[in-house]
Symmetry: C2
Subunit: 338 residues, 2 copies
């Protein structure tokens, strides 16, 4: 199992550079790491475990010999180069939405549906960040009580929009503090000291692309189309870490105490739920951490089978880079890649 060659595509972006950081931090059996990007960054170097790594041009790179190709270069790069990576013999783990709803492509969160990996045909899709952290928490509750319906409102950080969106929040914030006028560039509206309910394009039914992903991806990952989901996704002036206010309705009654107990033994979850000591998750505290944090667990006063949850996670790590690396680790453990 030693001697894996891993390529990161989009290595200079917010998610790609986090993938390299995650690979460094975990005991992944790595022999060789390759960093790929567009011609704009090609020829430059980045540092991995103290050594310089040359950034290769994805257009020209020969991908033979790569075991895992981790894609974080966006939809266009994925649609062009994922098939090339598979053709060259790699397993492509793709962070874009390109292949997520393709019935031939497993959409995987290792804590939730690792078995879906067995049917892979070379491509594994990494789910949307806001979906990943939610399903990690929903799964143990679904197993215990059955989830009937989910009403979620998100508070999503700008890093979900990439490095340029992070820079826009910082520079706009400084300008507002200095009393200057600000104009949105990357993001659809001003984000400094503001909020907007607009992530990805709007569909005919009024839902945004991000909201539609949360609905469809949740059903696919949970393997249960009968789970009804509605979502409102909003961008907030936070750099890293998505927060979610999640209202669920279960099939069987589950108390807050029982939910807390189940979640505290579930994989990948850290329960922070002692409000009297100010223990509840916040994005600043979750940033840089691997766990999905959950708190504010309450029985819903408006419904006998309702439960309220507050879920926070680092969207670049569990919501993207870490989940992709965990997929590779799980495939190795299951003997799906040798």
């Amino acid at each position: 199992m030693a001697g894996m060659s891993v390529a990161v595509i989009g290595a200079t972006g917010a998610v790609g550079s986090e993938m390299l950081k995650v690979l460094e931090q975990r005991s992944f059996p790595l022999e060789n790491v390759r960093a790929l990007a567009t011609s704009r960054s090609a020829g430059q170097t980045l540092i991995y475990k103290g050594r310089k790594v040359l950034i290769e041009d994805i257009e020209k790179a020969d991908l033979r010999g790569v075991h895992f190709a981790l894609f974080a270069g966006g939809e266009i790069a994925s649609s062009v180069h994922v098939p090339r990576a598979v053709e060259a013999g790699a397993v492509a783990i793709d962070n874009s939405s390109t292949f997520r709803m393709n019935p031939d492509v497993p959409l995987v969160v290792p804590e939730v549906n690792p078995e879906a990996l067995r049917a892979h045909k070379g491509i594994i899709a990494n789910p949307n960040c806001s979906t990943i952290q939610m399903v990690v928490v929903l799964k143990p509750i679904h197993d215990a009580a059955g989830i009937e319906r989910v009403v979620v409102s998100t508070y999503q950080s700008v890093s979900g929009g990439g490095r340029e969106a992070m820079e826009e929040l910082l520079s706009q914030s400084r300008d507002v503090l200095d009393g200057k006028e600000v104009e949105p560039k990357i993001m659809p509206k001003r984000i400094a000291f503001n909020i907007f309910p607009h992530i990805a394009d709007f569909g005919e039914n009024g839902y945004t692309g991000e909201e539609t992903k949360m609905i469809l991806e949740t059903q696919k990952i949970m393997g249960d189309d009968s789970i009804r989901v509605t979502a409102t996704t909003a961008r907030v002036p936070v750099l890293i870490g998505h927060s979610e206010s999640v209202n669920i309705q279960t099939r069987k009654k589950i108390t807050a105490a029982r939910a807390r107990e189940i979640l505290s033994h579930a994989p990948g979850i850290c329960v922070q739920d002692d409000p009297k000591t100010k223990s509840y998750p916040t994005p600043v505290e979750a940033a840089g951490r691997d766990e999905v944090f959950v708190g504010r667990i309450r029985e819903d006063l408006s419904h006998p089978l309702g439960l309220e949850l507050w879920i926070v996670s680092d969207n670049l790590r569990k919501g993207a880079a870490l989940n992709a690396v965990q997929i590779a680790e799980t495939m190795l453990k299951m003997g799906l890649v040798k």
Copy 2:
């Protein structure tokens, strides 16, 4: 009807100074305005319509001759001085939560339940900011289709916590941008580039005071205890303007188009709902405005009787100062104060 004497208690605070601004801007039949505060500010002056007004010490002030006493000095000031104002013959319109759930005290949003004013005994309670903007939108829908259940998640600006909370957001933001460590002072956690689901104290059932207010006040203002409400309230790094993601379930089916039409003719509401032209409400755009803005009106894909709404309003104006002045105006119009 001319010659009203109005006193603003807590005149130097975020809401009190907004009350004076609202009185200046509207054609309120005002003969005399008095500004009151604690002994800390007493003796100083503030400017009202270009003239200096001496700030009086509320402890020592003689309130006889005042028609309307607008209270924005917090719970302690209200519990002590509201009875004094009523004793002196004034109608007290109180922005604190002290008297809101008292069955002898009308809790009023003029667009929703003006008739409740007729039963007043000297005190009118001004509802919680996050409740006011929600019920202005819920009422016309309730009249048309009956509201069964409300699941709301809020994105509340720091001005709800007063002027010091606004200063804390600004100074913390500057410190974070300058790479300095920050420590929360007024607010329970860091708010710069962060979010926390903690507004007011936690109750035994896990709901915060703010969440409980949204439940109980909504039922009282709407005059219908059968409306089931659950709420998660979060503080966000925004200066002015509360945003709310509101999921409702109606008794009769109402389409998004019909809801949009009803709301566009309802009092106090501005529908901003053309997502393809980026028309949806945001707090920065709502700040300084009088209307309650609503957008993202969608039929809920998870429930046949569900509707999604995104509601934003200036919490200092419609959520506090403006609503209080509108209560006074409505009482004059109804002949309840002469």
